[in-house]
């Protein structure tokens, strides 16, 4: 158990360092001198030299890198070129929105997808299996922004049931409950569209796993013991298929994060993904690097959470006899 956790944590740290290193070097291979891109070319050479000192660009590359790592780990991302405010102040208000979007989309699509997949495996050839197969094809082939644009056109423009854009109404309503409801009202269409696109592939994976599991001998044994069908399905078959289901979560996560960036753009949400796009389009490199880092951090954290769930669901890890997967 402990060995498993040490390995997982070490892996997470390695990925994090890799992301930081990629960030550091990506933003330094961009064409042109860093200083020349942010100061007026009419500055005197002495002033430019002072700027280089001010930004620490006169230091050797490796000490620049160590400073960079330290600042990334302490969330000190510097000043945004565009807004002239600390990047972290800009990001702090956006992280909860992105986390809410990602969290609700993941939770809902995993619940719906798992249920659909299990039911589809139980009754092969039935209506539920057809629904699962079709929604799977949809989620593999329909671009998220297209589905979201159509949803916007239908439910926000033609029939104005939902807001066209933004994370909160302006002006913000008074009182806690109206605020929460207003927030959920704004979240419904973005999160709903992500669920609509996400549950299909999930259902197909779960169905394939469950079809395999339902053919095994212990399921036959459970049926022979006279257990009820629901009990066989959920307590016996699904329980043993649960660890691989959790690995689906790991596989689906990067796609959902990518989808969240596009979703935030379509619905103009106040989130990290939209901030990343705006920073890239505005050549605001500190902000873009920080937003990229935060997205990677969110992914790595969810990865670790899934690992924790995996270790609880898989008795081989929980008991710790065979730490190998």
């Amino acid at each position: 158990m402990r060995g498993y956790w040490v390995r997982r944590a070490a892996g997470a740290v390695a990925v994090l360092l890799l992301v930081i290193a990629a960030n550091f070097f990506l933003f330094r291979v961009m064409p042109g001198d860093v200083v020349s891109s942010i100061v007026d070319p009419r500055f005197s050479p002495e002033a430019k030299e002072r700027m280089r000192e001010l930004f620490g660009l006169d230091l050797p590359l490796h000490s620049q890198f160590f400073i960079y790592v330290r600042r990334m780990l302490t969330f000190d991302f510097g000043i945004s070129f565009l807004s002239q405010r600390p990047v972290w102040d800009e990001l702090r208000s956006r992280i909860p929105n992105t986390a809410a979007l990602l969290g609700s989309a993941l939770l809902l699509s995993s619940i719906i997808g798992t249920w659909l997949g299990v039911k589809a495996a139980q009754r092969r050839g039935g209506l539920i299996e057809k629904v699962a197969l079709v929604s799977g094809s949809v989620s593999f082939s329909f671009p998220s922004f297209f589905v979201q644009l159509v949803l916007l056109l239908l439910f926000a423009y033609t029939f104005p049931l939902f807001p066209l854009r933004g994370s909160v109404s302006i002006p913000v309503p008074q009182g806690t409950l109206p605020q929460v409801l207003d927030y959920l009202w704004h979240l419904a269409l973005p999160a709903g569209s992500l669920v609509l696109l996400g549950f299909g592939s999930w259902a197909i994976y779960v169905r394939n796993l469950m079809v395999k599991t339902l053919g095994e001998d212990f399921v036959l044994l459970a049926r022979a013991k006279g257990l009820s069908e629901e009990r066989v399905l959920w307590n016996h078959a699904f329980r043993s298929a649960l660890p691989p289901v959790l690995t689906i979560f790991l596989l689906a996560l990067p796609g959902i994060v990518s989808g969240a960036i596009i979703t935030e753009t379509v619905f103009s949400l106040h989130g990290v993904g939209k901030f990343l796009l705006d920073s890239i389009l505005g050549h605001d490199y500190p902000a873009a690097g920080a937003a990229f880092y935060i997205l990677a951090l969110l992914t790595i954290t969810s990865n670790l959470a899934a690992d924790a769930a995996y270790s609880i669901a898989d008795p081989r890890i929980r008991v710790g006899h065979r730490a190998e997967r």
Binding site: M30, S141, P143, F146, L149, L253, P254, L276, I280, A288
Partner: protein
């Protein structure tokens, strides 16, 4: 060949459309053809279609049978030349009600350039209306027959073109710049296909070589490569692509290169597991024992084994690349001069297709992307079934 699968036929049709569709266009798709956000002709109602006519020395008068609402603009452009010394001619506009407007007068000189636009203030002044009125409305008061003619001295050369931008256009209407959406749609097929196939081919070559090396060589190289695959698969690719495209530039070939470099992981995994199982098989061991070099075994035996699987992964991988290209274009991170379906959706989202209610800007490119992806998915499954007939037995996967 399983030609009964609909997707092979559909792929063939898409290829034909991609090759011959843009060739069949007579006009540059970037040029405006009607007013912005003009609806498709088949739902346009009584909005006027685009109209143009030419006045020439042989044909100095044109009749227009007008059956629609008045257009928003009218333009007359061209050159006229006269042979006589003392020219006295004028351009007349006669409405069905019998009103006659004098649009332009030609006096004295023998060469005239005409450039009239109903939106010009000077033109409105010459008609005697205020600059805030719509001159085209005044010139088209009712339905019926309009006559535009050159009267007075007959011209000897040159021609004038009368153009009315339409309020409805073609099969799929126009976009925010008045461009024909159907032409843009046809041109966009090429980008989707090119990026999808080229990036996936690149990724497959990379994945094949990395997977073969990893599976066949084993040991430290194998575990290093597989660790890298794990890491790359656990990081969302879109933000990486966004950052790289934002820094390196938005060209089409750069995009293909970047997409290829970030999507070889799945193929590498599949090929590796195949190579692992083959490495342990008896015939490969026999080959080794008679002194075959690793390269020979890889090239002559493992590669042919891997080919059907590879073909299936290529076909299954194309939708990913197409969706990634469309996503980046939708975010505005593509070359604005290259027309692609993602770019069309980007412009629809960014330039007010919603407030214009212009669904014809959203549905065609979106459905196009989806259909191409579905076709490649189904082809991939068909190839998979050919390569591994066991998949067929249990019905559809």
């Amino acid at each position: 060949m399983p030609m009964h699968r609909w997707s092979f036929l559909a792929f063939f049709l898409i290829l034909i459309a991609a090759v011959f569709g843009p060739m069949s266009l007579s006009e540059d798709p970037q040029q405006p053809v009607a007013k912005p956000f003009a609806p498709p002709a088949w739902i346009g109602g009584d909005a006027p279609p685009p109209f143009s006519a030419t006045l020439s020395p042989a044909d100095p008068s044109v009749q227009i049978d007008w059956k629609w609402a008045s257009p928003e603009d009218l333009s007359i452009r061209g050159n006229l030349s006269f042979e006589v010394d003392s020219v006295s001619a004028s351009l007349k506009w006669e409405t069905p009600g019998g009103d006659v407007f004098n649009l332009a007068s030609f006096e004295g000189n023998d060469d005239w350039a005409v450039d009239i636009d109903a939106r010009d203030v000077s033109f409105k002044r010459s008609l005697g209306i205020s600059p805030f009125e719509n001159a085209a409305n005044l010139m088209f008061p009712s339905l019926g027959r309009y006559i535009i003619s050159i009267e007075g001295t007959p011209p000897s050369g040159g021609s004038l073109t009368v153009a009315l931008p339409g309020g409805k256009w073609g099969l799929l209407g126009t976009d925010q710049r008045g461009r024909d959406v159907f032409s843009l749609f046809l041109v966009g097929i090429r980008v989707s296909l090119l990026v999808g196939i080229a990036a996936t081919l690149l990724a497959s070559v990379l994945g094949l070589s990395i997977g073969l090396a990893s599976g066949y060589l084993g040991g430290a190289i194998d575990s290093l490569i597989m660790r890298a695959v794990d890491v790359l698969l656990s990081i969302p690719v879109l933000p990486i692509l966004m950052v790289i495209v934002g820094i390196w530039g938005k060209g089409l070939w750069q995009l293909i290169l970047i997409l290829g470099l970030f999507s070889w992981m799945g193929t590498a995994r599949t090929v590796r597991s195949l190579a692992l199982s083959l490495r342990e098989s008896c015939y490969v061991e026999n080959l080794r024992s008679i002194g075959a070099s690793p390269f020979y075994i890889l090239y002559r035996h493992l590669l042919p084994e891997a080919l059907p699987v590879l073909l299936a992964t290529i076909s299954l991988g194309v939708p990913g690349a197409i969706l990634a290209e469309a996503g980046l274009s939708f975010l505005g991170l593509s070359d604005p001069r290259v027309i692609s379906w993602g770019r069309m959706l980007h412009e629809a989202h960014g330039f007010g297709a919603f407030t214009a209610g212009a669904w014809w800007l959203i549905l065609p490119p979106g459905l196009g992307i989806s259909i191409i992806c579905l076709v490649f998915l189904d082809m991939g499954r068909a190839i998979e079934e050919m390569a591994d007939p066991r998949l067929l037995k249990g019905g559809r996967r």
